[in-house]
């Protein structure tokens, strides 16, 4: 009896061994299954140019339909009022449709020197703190520079971008080069105060946000260490921002500075600020208060139907996360170890679990790998925009999620990273890190050429 069991065991082992040996090296190995699934059960198995655009699986027919309506609305082009379809654009705006900046639900491309900024915008403010802890709007401009307008109005102005380039060395003598952007206001419709603060923001990918929204506040705060009590040099601070709907301060988790508390508010603010489409949350035109506002046809009600606003919120909320690739590739495996050893993972947290939500099982109790702690970190002078945003200082940025980052080239046709797209590839993005991330960056500087390639191979696999 015992021998029979042993024999069976042996056979089993051999069968398993043979099956593994039979597979090619680049196929899935089952015991790593959770590692492939960046979005937990809501991982999309597509590695192509549509990989950011997949709907959650297993939803009800109604949810699928709302997602589709939201999808249609996300790509709807707005035009000047009056119009039979999608009226209300502007009078001042940055773009005409959600999808115009979030191309293929992905990352905005930064303009080259001299080109106008189509997939990014500029937040502006005066020094100080506004009534809700927010940045102080600039009279005549508000807190965002709208660079386009309908024909009967004037754009607020634009920003010209120029880059200066400097070379640096890795420890082994290899060089890398970083470009520093310089911004100048141009074509302003009225003078801008000389103490105006400016912060460039590239359109960020919009998939996986429903999962990030489902991470509990407690779990995020557990990762915070604002006084660096554990003396590892990494702080991590929560931003508390104004919740327009509930009229109170709550944890911020979306946007480059975690300045938006929810997907709904992010979407509503973008409609209003980026396209000039007034809505339930933000019923006033962004141009209200400007001298040119009075010349615009007024609207007694806001422009976007609530059902459409909520459908776009749901669309964004139910976009799945692309699957990881090549995780058994030796370079990727090595890169993963280096990601931990160099300290990247201290902020780019690999494993989060969403809270239980019986009403929406797709985001309930999922082990996800977003590679962010959703917290603010001092990123040093190099990356500083010197423009506070609620509790985020001029040097702090929210840890950017890294999931799907290796698909940026495929989906968006470029590899511009960081809040203003200054990094032209992943390694440049790594080398821009400073402040709390300086030690990690210095560790990367010390890596050999092949280890650096492995680290990038790992990032490319996300």
């Amino acid at each position: 009896m015992k021998r029979a069991t042993q024999a069976v065991l042996v056979i089993l082992c051999i069968v398993i061994f043979l099956q593994i040996a039979c597979k090619k090296a680049d196929t899935i190995i089952d015991n790593l299954e959770s590692e492939w699934l960046n979005g937990g059960s809501q991982t999309a198995f597509d590695q192509g140019s549509s990989s950011f655009s997949h709907m959650f699986s297993g939803m009800s027919a109604l949810q699928n339909r709302v997602h589709e309506v939201g999808d249609g609305q996300f790509s709807a082009t707005f035009v000047a009022a009056p119009a039979p379809l999608n009226p209300g654009l502007g009078p001042i705006y940055n773009n005409v449709a959600c999808v115009s900046c979030h191309v293929s639900d992905g990352r905005g491309k930064v303009p080259g020197s001299g080109e106008s900024a189509a997939n990014m915008l500029f937040r502006i403010s005066l020094p100080g703190i506004g009534e809700h802890g927010n940045p102080v709007p600039i009279p005549g401009f508000g807190d965002q520079l709208q660079s386009r307008s309908v024909l009967t109005a004037s754009p607020e102005g634009d920003v010209s971008i120029n880059y200066t380039e400097q070379s640096y060395n890795f420890a082994d003598g290899d060089t890398y080069s970083l470009r520093t952007p310089h911004y100048t206001f141009i074509n302003l419709y009225m003078p801008m105060p000389s103490n105006a603060l400016l912060s460039p923001r590239v359109a960020a990918p919009v998939f996986g946000l429903g999962l990030l929204e489902a991470v509990s506040e407690e779990d995020i705060l557990k990762m915070a260490d604002p006084n660096d009590a554990n003396k590892d040099g990494i702080k991590g601070q929560a931003n508390y921002v104004w919740d327009v709907l509930n009229q109170k301060k709550v944890l911020g988790r979306f946007g480059w500075k975690a300045n938006q508390p929810s997907i709904l508010q992010q979407v509503a603010a973008a409609y209003n600020g980026d396209m000039g489409i007034t809505n339930y949350l933000f019923p006033k035109e962004s141009s209200e208060g400007q001298t040119q506002f009075s010349s615009q046809p007024g609207s007694k009600t806001y422009e976007l139907a609530d059902s459409l606003l909520y459908s776009v919120e749901f669309y964004v909320k139910s976009l799945a996360v692309p699957v990881r690739r090549d995780i058994t590739n030796p370079a990727v495996v090595r890169g993963k170890a280096l990601f931990t050893q160099t300290g990247c993972i201290k902020c780019h947290a690999a494993d989060l679990r969403t809270k239980v939500n019986v009403a929406f099982p797709q985001v309930s109790n999922q082990l996800i790998h977003p590679f962010t702690d959703l917290l603010l970190h001092d990123m040093g002078d190099g990356l500083a925009d010197n423009r506070p945003d609620f509790l985020a200082s001029g040097k702090q940025w929210r840890t950017a999620p890294l999931w799907g980052i290796g698909l940026t080239q495929k989906v968006n046709g470029h590899t511009n990273f960081l809040h203003d797209g200054r990094a032209r590839n992943l390694m440049e993005a790594v080398m821009w890190h400073g402040g709390e991330a300086l030690a990690a960056k210095n560790n990367v500087v010390q890596l050999s050429r092949s280890d650096r390639a492995s680290l990038i191979a790992f990032l490319e696999s996300l």
């Binding site: 024999a7 056979i11 043979l18 192509g48 140019s49 035009v79 039979p84 115009s100």
Partner: protein, 354 residues
């Protein structure tokens, strides 16, 4: 002793099983299949994608000549010729929407030439303004003020009642610049395909940086085929139909919507067969070599969708009200076709192409 014997017997069976499942069929067959897969990509890249954008550019140039003739000599014959040229170019563009990936997406050509709705309010303001209507001016305008549909609006008028004599000087200038801009953007897609992107697709899995595996390229092709199917059924047709709102209909001035939908679906078969103007290898050849019933299903679902689109007796904007069962039937047939592409062709590709 007995136990050991049994064990070794058990051992042998799985080993044989494993060995046989591991073994590739015949090395000649494998070689042939691999050559075919590469050949399909090379043919599709050259004969379908690149040559379709060349064809679209040729037709854009014809449109431009027709518009020049119309603006110089505004006769109704010249107007009819310009309208025909617009419709002809539209045929190719709608077909290419079945391979809407690569430069046309990355360089944002699609929104710049085919945005709906038209911004009538601002279009009228432009015509009334004193702005100089150069091509550069048009290029700077919002997408809703350039491309196919503003040209359509100018050529047909709001109700399709435009006459050659009614063209104002401003309309002529705007129309001329719009057409020049369309030629420019079409040239850009054609150039990006013929100067490098064609090789990206043709060399998938063999040096292509865009498609590091052949599978990635095939998935891109099949996804694009499926996407346009979905878009026609669940967006282009469904949105105006569900809301009974003809303002959501594309190409209403030329009453061209049903032709647009049909050419979208036809593009899928063009891609599948690798036959735009020259019949090269297509995905069809890989399917036929392995699964004839799948090939038959794809073709019958395609035929049913095309047939359903051929039943309308009025333009789409009216059909959503007066022929609802025909609209529903067409959407159903197109969705059936989409399901076959997504649920049968795609798994087939994932299995066959690595």
């Amino acid at each position: 002793m007995k136990n050991t014997f049994k064990a070794s017997l058990f051992l042998t069976i799985p080993m044989v099983l494993a060995a046989s499942s591991c073994k590739k069929s015949n090395s000649d067959d494998t070689q042939q299949a691999s050559t075919l897969k590469a050949q399909i990509l090379a043919d599709v890249s050259a004969n379908v994608c690149t040559s379709s954008y060349q064809d679209m550019l040729d037709k854009a140039n014809v449109l431009q000549s027709a518009v020049t003739a119309l603006t110089n000599t505004p006769t109704d014959a010249n107007l009819a010729a310009a309208r025909t040229a617009w419709k002809n170019m539209r045929v190719t563009w709608e077909e290419t929407e079945a391979w809407l990936f690569g430069p046309v997406e990355a360089d944002k050509i699609d929104p710049r030439i085919d945005t709906w709705p038209v911004d009538f309010t601002q279009l009228d303001q432009i015509l009334k303004s004193n702005d100089e209507l150069t091509e550069a001016y048009v290029d700077n305008l919002d997408d809703a003020l350039k491309g196919f549909h503003p040209i359509e609006y100018l050529l047909w008028g709001q109700n399709g009642t435009k006459t050659a004599a009614s063209f104002t000087a401003r309309e002529k200038a705007y129309l001329t610049s719009l057409t020049q801009n369309l030629v420019k953007l079409t040239t850009s897609v054609r150039n990006t395909w013929s100067n490098g992107y064609n090789k990206q697709l043709a060399t998938a899995g063999a040096g292509s940086t865009e498609f590091t595996t052949q599978q990635a390229a095939y998935v891109q092709l099949v996804d694009a085929m499926h996407d346009i199917c979905e878009e026609v059924a669940n967006s282009k047709m469904k949105e105006p139909f569900d809301s009974q709102d003809a303002s959501k209909e594309e190409s209403p001035f030329a009453k061209n919507s049903i032709i647009d939908f049909t050419n979208n679906i036809k593009g899928i078969m063009i891609m599948y067969q690798g036959n735009f103007s020259v019949d090269g290898k297509g995905i069809e050849d890989l399917v036929r070599a392995n699964n004839l019933s799948l090939d038959a299903e794809i073709k019958s679902k395609y035929a049913a969708a095309i047939a359903a689109l051929g039943t309308f007796s009025v333009p789409f904007g009216q059909a959503i009200v007066s022929e609802p069962t025909k609209v529903q039937n067409a959407m159903t047939k197109i969705n059936d076709f989409a399901s076959t592409l997504d649920e049968k062709l795609k798994p087939f590709i994932l299995q066959q192409v690595k």
